[in-house]
C-alpha cells in the first residue's frame, strides 16, 4: 500500500503529534506514505468566504502535483478540513466543464493542470477499508483494555459527502477502537460541531458547543479525534467550558491511541504534546489503570480516584 500523504498546515504546527503518530502508525501497518512534494494549504474553511475560485484551486494544486509527480496514487489526508476541500475538487469541479476549465486556468499560472483522476481518502477510510479492523486487532501488542473512549468524528469527514461511513450514525472509529481493545463510550455528540473557527471570532458561541460535547463525554476516560481543529477546540478551551458545566477530559488523536496499543515508542505517540495529558494521565495510560480488576463492580473508589486524577490533570490545562 502506497499513498500520497497530505499532512496539511496544522499538522506542521499545533497538531504535530497527529503528524508524527499518523506516520508511525501507518508505517507500522505496512502502508507507505510519500509526502506530496511542495504541497500547499488547502484553504480550510477560510477560502470559500474569500474567493470561490481559490477555494477550489488551492486544494486542486495538491492533487495536480500528485497526478504529475506521484502517478496519481490515492491521497491520504488526516485532517477533516483538508480531506473535504480536496474531495470537493473531485465532487464539484471535475464534471463541471466550465468550472473545471476555470480552475485549470488558475493552476496554469503555476504550470499545473488537474485532470481529475486522483482519489482522495481520509485516514479513517484507509484504516477501515484498506487495512481493516481485523489486521489492526492482530497488530495490537499493548491493548487499551478497559479504557473507555468517546469517538468524536466531527463534521467534515462525513458531511456533506458520506463516502465511507453513515453520517447519522458513524461506526468506523468504533471499529478501530474496539480492535485496539478499548471500550466505546456511546453518546450523541460524536458528530456534532465543535464550533470550528468560530472559536476565534465568537468564542462565546463556540464554547457552548464544546461544553455540550464535553458534558456528554462524561463517563469516558478520553475523547478520540481525527481532526486537528476539533482536537484544539475540545482541548484548549476546557476551563471556559467548565464554567458551563463540562468536566475536563483528555482529548487524544486516534492515531496516538493506536500507537499506544501497538506498543510504539513514546516519540511516535507524543502524548506530552497534548495540553490535556498531564503526567497523571500518562501514568494512568501506562499503568492501564482502567483495566484494574473490580473497576466496574466496586468501581466507586476507583472512579473517585480517577476523577481526582483527571481534575488534577485539568489544573495544568
Amino acid at each position: 500500500m502506497k499513498y500520497a500523504y497530505y499532512p496539511g498546515c496544522s499538522l506542521t504546527e499545533s497538531a504535530a503529534e497527529f503528524d508524527v503518530s499518523t506516520r508511525a502508525v501507518m508505517d507500522y501497518l505496512g502502508a507507505e506514505l510519500v509526502e506530496i512534494p511542495d504541497w500547499t494549504c488547502c484553504g480550510a474553511s477560510a477560502a470559500e468566504p474569500v474567493s470561490k475560485l481559490m477555494n477550489y484551486a488551492l486544494p486542486a494544486r495538491n492533487l495536480a502535483i500528485t497526478e504529475k509527480e506521484l502517478d496519481g496514487i490515492d491521497v491520504i489526508a488526516p485532517c477533516s478540513a483538508c480531506y473535504l476541500n480536496l474531495l470537493k475538487v473531485n465532487r464539484e469541479v471535475v464534471g463541471d466543464r466550465s468550472l473545471h476549465g476555470k480552475v485549470n486556468e488558475v493552476l496554469a499560472a503555476s504550470g499545473l493542470t488537474y485532470s481529475g483522476k486522483v482519489e482522495v481518502r481520509h485516514i479513517l477510510d484507509v484504516l477501515i477499508n484498506d487495512v481493516g479492523a481485523k489486521i489492526i486487532e492482530q497488530k495490537v501488542t499493548n491493548g487499551l483494555d478497559g479504557m473507555k473512549i468517546a469517538p468524536y468524528y466531527g463534521c467534515q469527514i462525513l458531511r456533506p459527502y458520506p463516502v465511507f461511513d453513515d453520517p447519522k450514525n458513524p461506526t468506523s472509529m468504533h471499529r478501530v477502537l474496539t480492535a485496539l481493545g478499548a471500550d466505546v463510550h456511546e453518546w450523541d455528540h460524536g458528530n456534532k460541531c465543535c464550533g470550528a473557527s468560530l472559536m476565534i471570532g465568537h468564542r462565546d458561541v463556540a464554547v457552548q458547543s464544546v461544553a455540550a460535547i464535553l458534558a456528554d463525554a462524561e463517563g469516558a476516560d478520553a475523547i478520540a479525534t481525527v481532526c486537528p481543529l476539533c482536537q484544539m477546540n475540545l482541548e484548549a478551551y476546557q476551563s471556559q467550558a467548565q464554567k458551563l458545566g463540562a468536566k475536563p477530559i483528555p482529548i487524544l488523536y486516534l492515531t496516538q491511541l493506536m500507537g499506544e496499543a501497538f506498543g510504539l515508542e513514546d516519540g511516535a505517540i507524543q502524548f506530552e504534546k497534548n495540553l490535556t495529558v498531564s503526567a497523571g494521565v500518562r501514568r494512568d495510560i501506562a499503568n492501564k489503570v482502567w483495566s484494574q480488576p473490580n473497576q466496574t463492580e466496586s468501581g466507586d473508589d476507583m472512579a473517585e480516584a480517577k476523577a481526582d486524577n483527571l481534575s488534577k490533570g485539568a489544573s495544568h490545562v
Binding site: C9, S10, T12, E13, S14, A16, D38, W39, T40, C41, G43, A44, S45, A46, A47, E48, P49, V50, S51, K52, L53, M54, N55, A57, L58, R61, K102, E105, V106, L107, A108, A109, S110, C155, Q156, R159, P160, P162, P167, K192, C193, G195, A196, S197, L198, I200, G201, H202, R203, V205, A206, Q208, S209, A236, E272, K273, L275
Partner: protein
C-alpha cells in the same frame, strides 16, 4: 443603500449582482421546511433563522440580508446541507453570503479571520499560525484586548513547541495563482 450600490458601476458592484443572482439560483428550490434551522448548532446565536434567510435571498432583500449577522455564525458543519430534503448546498450559500457582505464592505470584524488566513496562505504557501494570528489581531484593532484572550493558549503552545517562528513555509509559491484568480474574478 443597495440602490446606490447598483447605480455606481464598479467591478465589485458587478460581482455583488453576480453573487446575488447565483444565490437566488442556489436556494430557488427551497420550500421553507426549516430542517436547516432545526439542524443548525449555532442557530441560537443567529438573528435571522437560516430558513428565513433563504426566503430573503429569493426575494432579493439585499439590505436586510447585509444587516444580519446570521451567516457569520455558520461554522461550516454541513449538517443543513446533509439534511436538506431539496438537496441544496446551504453551507456553500452561507459562505457566498459572507463573500457578498465582504464585497459590500460589510463585516470587517467578522471577516477578519478569513482574510488574515488567506493573506497568510498567499504569502507563505502554508499557514504560519503565529503570523496569521498577529495579522488577525492587527485587523481587529477595534478590540485591543483581544490578543490577551489568546495569550495563555499561545504560551502553552509555545512551551509545547507547537508553533514555529514567523517565516518559513513555501514562500510565495501561490502568489501567481492568487493573482490569476483575482483577475478572473474581476477583483484586481
Amino acid at each position: 443603500m443597495s440602490e446606490a450600490v447598483r447605480k455606481t458601476w464598479s467591478p465589485a458592484g458587478d460581482e455583488i449582482e453576480f453573487v446575488l443572482a447565483k444565490l437566488k439560483e442556489e436556494v430557488g428550490a427551497c420550500m421553507q421546511c426549516g430542517t436547516c434551522t432545526a439542524s443548525c448548532p449555532n442557530g441560537f446565536a443567529m438573528d435571522i433563522t437560516p430558513r428565513a434567510m433563504w426566503r430573503m435571498i429569493q426575494f432579493g432583500m439585499l439590505d436586510e440580508i447585509l444587516e444580519s449577522h446570521t451567516f457569520w455564525m455558520c461554522s461550516s458543519c454541513y449538517t443543513c446541507t446533509l439534511r436538506c430534503p431539496r438537496g441544496l448546498k446551504l453551507t456553500s450559500v452561507m459562505a457566498s453570503l459572507k463573500r457578498l457582505a465582504m464585497l459590500s464592505g460589510k463585516g470587517r470584524k467578522d471577516s477578519a479571520f478569513y482574510r488574515a488566513f488567506m493573506e497568510n496562505v498567499e504569502s507563505h504557501g502554508r499557514v504560519q499560525e503565529m503570523s496569521m494570528m498577529s495579522n488577525y489581531f492587527f485587523k481587529r484593532m477595534d478590540d485591543p484586548t483581544l490578543p490577551f484572550k489568546f495569550v495563555p493558549l499561545g504560551m502553552k503552545m509555545m512551551a509545547k513547541g507547537k508553533v514555529h517562528m514567523p517565516g518559513g513555509g513555501q514562500g510565495g509559491v501561490l502568489k501567481s495563482m492568487f493573482a490569476k484568480a483575482r483577475e478572473m474574478e474581476g477583483l484586481s
